[in-house]
């Protein structure tokens, strides 16, 4: 299936195979993330969620298949166009991946310095604004080593938002956060989607998060090495295949005590 996706598709995977060298992790992945979606990539540990994310965001090429941004075939495009697409995507890495030799403000400012001709003052103001969006006002001159893990994640989000991206990727946003901070991060993601109109792709296995924010999803199975279901997780809970329903119900009441 190699048809070009329609107009309101933000990111489309078409028969993607994810592999580490000769070892295939996932294959036959086809799904579409629509503009404004909060799209969850879910599945048990070690099923290849994060590897798929690296393929989607353009860090590693897929072993087979294509990834479309809008109607552009990402890996088939010339490198200048690929860079332009990557500039319009933001990533919040699992551990934050902040540039440790720079302060938080400088972290947010770096992409702006690199791509815009704004004056240092304007850049500084923009950086402060992005940091305050994620609740880190006043932390501009702290180094990443001086703040907590949860703050690093939020600073990573502020940096992901630096260039006002169309698509933002989150790799395990709530991993290692306490329930309250995790729930707050979920709210933040919802707010940002509603106010900035971004498309959000989240890799997670936190059920509370999935039911709180998702309106579309794909379920990766570690055993069959392919996607076994896709769609709104609330729908999947009612009509999905057994293993997906089991995944979506088993942990209920165990994490965060949330009621989806």
């Amino acid at each position: 299936m190699n048809r070009v996706p329609d107009k309101d598709a933000a990111v489309t995977a078409s028969d993607v195979t994810v592999a580490y060298g000769p070892r295939v992790v996932q294959q036959g992945l086809s799904f579409t993330v629509r503009k404004g979606d909060i799209f969850i990539i879910m599945g048990g540990s070690g099923c290849g969620k994060s590897s798929l994310l690296r393929v989607l965001m353009g860090l590693t090429p897929p072993a087979k298949g294509s990834v479309y941004y809008g109607q552009t075939d990402f890996w088939g495009a010339p490198s200048a166009e690929r860079e332009a697409i990557m500039r319009r995507t933001g990533v919040m890495f699992q551990s934050g991946a902040l540039w440790t030799s720079r302060t938080l403000a400088e972290n947010v400012a770096l992409p702006l310095e690199y791509y815009t001709d704004l004056s240092p003052r304007d850049i500084r103001e923009l950086a402060s604004f992005k940091l305050s969006l994620v609740g880190l006002a006043g932390f501009e001159d702290f180094y990443p080593s001086e703040i907590s893990g949860g703050m690093k994640k939020r600073a990573g989000l502020a940096r992901a938002l630096a260039l006002d991206p169309d698509v933002v990727y989150f790799d395990e946003p709530s991993a290692g956060l306490d329930p309250v901070s995790a729930a707050r991060l979920d709210e933040l993601i919802l707010q940002l989607r509603d106010t900035l109109g971004m498309t959000v792709v989240v890799v997670t296995h936190e059920l509370a998060s999935i039911f709180a924010i998702a309106n579309n999803s794909v379920f990766l199975d570690a055993k069959t090495k392919t996607m076994t279901a896709s769609g709104d997780p609330h729908e999947l809970l009612r009509h999905g295949p057994d293993e997906v329903v089991e995944f979506l119900t088993r942990g209920k009441g165990r994490d965060r005590g949330g009621n989806p």
Partner: protein, 377 residues
């Protein structure tokens, strides 16, 4: 009471009765190690159809006892025997059941140690890949340098100044010390021979020419590869571990432009400058020995130094330094960029960066020397 197994056969069942104290301390102090007991039990499995565990006479126990039971039960299971642990007291039975619940993976994850021939073969087969990586890296750096000089690659001036400071100014003390001492050593050693001919005065030109033409650049290169090349590899390597390099790529910022380019340019500028400084320090070392120990007058020393010095020696020295600067920066950055994602990989990358650049410096020196000899310079 030391730990013990009593093994009996009743009809077709193997009865394993544990007794005594089965704590870790008691087990390690026991006269017969538990592994020998389990081995006995395992060899008794032949012909049995079931294994029953009893532990009524055990006075105290921890996981040492369960580990011994587990080893026997595991083997019994593999042979299709019935394992009956229901007679075990307290928490033993449920814990043993828990351990036996998931069968071990049989598609062996752990590879056996490769033999000598296999290692040689693997290393040989890895060569084309490594060569490809190196050529790709050199190509990327060349393109990046070209983009820089055509004004398309923005290499942040702040990073460039950082490199200037770190590998230039900060390296001054150690370069001063080492080249001053090298000058002293050269002067001492050469004076021992020259004294035989009463030609001590030539110590001056010998130290001067050898420092400027080759010793100064080589010494600076070796100091910088230990100091700066290693730090390049470690810094970029730990950025790789921390996903910081991915974060750059994620913004469409080329890591080569951003991390490698300033380091290569910075070192290409700083190595020749440091070399000039090292030349002066080395000559000063020779001067100290000549004036203070060989009773050469300061004026005569300076005169003799200048008499044999030509400008082309200085250029040759600077050419060496420029080449060394590139070698050190490229080795350090290459090892950092291809560093694996764990702490020991950073260590390996650092070591490889230093070793590669020192070998590179020596090889480059011989190549340049041969070429210059052929060209009669």
């Amino acid at each position: 009471m030391p730990p013990a197994f009593d093994i009996q056969k009743q009809q077709n069942a193997l009865i394993v009765r544990a007794s005594g104290s089965w704590s870790r301390q008691a087990v390690s102090a026991a006269p017969s190690a538990p592994e020998s007991m389990t081995t006995t039990a395992l060899s008794a499995l032949n012909g049995a159809t079931a294994v029953r565990f009893f532990a009524a006479d055990v006075t105290e126990w921890d996981s040492s006892l369960l580990a011994a039971f587990y080893a026997i039960a595991q083997e019994a299971r593999a042979r299709g025997l019935v394992v009956d642990a229901s007679a075990l007291p307290g928490g033993m039975a449920p814990m043993l059941d828990m351990a036996l619940a998931v069968p071990p993976r049989d598609n062996g994850v752990r590879k056996r140690e490769p033999g000598f021939l296999e290692t040689v073969g693997e290393k040989t087969l890895a060569w084309p890949g490594i060569t490809r990586n190196v050529v790709e890296f050199l190509g990327e750096v060349t393109l990046s340098v070209a983009r820089f000089f055509s004004g398309k690659a923005s290499c942040s001036s702040r990073d460039l100044w950082n490199v200037f400071r770190e590998c230039g100014v900060d390296a001054l003390p150690i370069v001063t010390l080492t080249s001053l001492l090298l000058g002293l050593i050269l002067a001492f050693v050469s004076s021992m021979q020259l004294k035989l001919f009463g030609a001590e005065i030539y110590v001056a030109s010998l130290v001067g020419v050898s420092m400027v033409r080759v010793m100064g650049p080589v010494l600076t290169g070796i100091v910088l590869s230990g100091r700066t090349g290693a730090s390049f590899a470690a810094v970029i390597g730990s950025m790789q571990v921390n996903e910081e390099v991915d974060a750059l790529t994620g913004f469409g910022i080329s890591p080569t432009d951003f991390l490698v380019l300033p380091r290569v340019l910075g070192l290409a500028v700083m190595t020749p400058l440091l070399t000039l400084y090292a030349d002066v320090a080395g000559i000063a070392g020779g001067f100290l020995v000549g004036v203070l120990m060989l009773d050469i007058s300061p004026a005569a020393y300076v005169n003799n130094s200048l008499q044999f010095m030509t400008l082309s020696y200085v250029w040759i020295g600077l050419l060496h330094a420029l080449v060394f600067g590139f070698i050190i920066a490229l080795c350090g950055c290459y090892q950092g960029m291809r560093c694996g994602r764990n702490a020991s990989a950073v260590g390996r990358a650092t070591t490889a960066a230093v070793v590669n650049s020192i070998v590179g410096i020596i090889v480059a020196t011989s190549v340049i020397t041969i070429i210059l000899t052929v060209l009669d310079l």
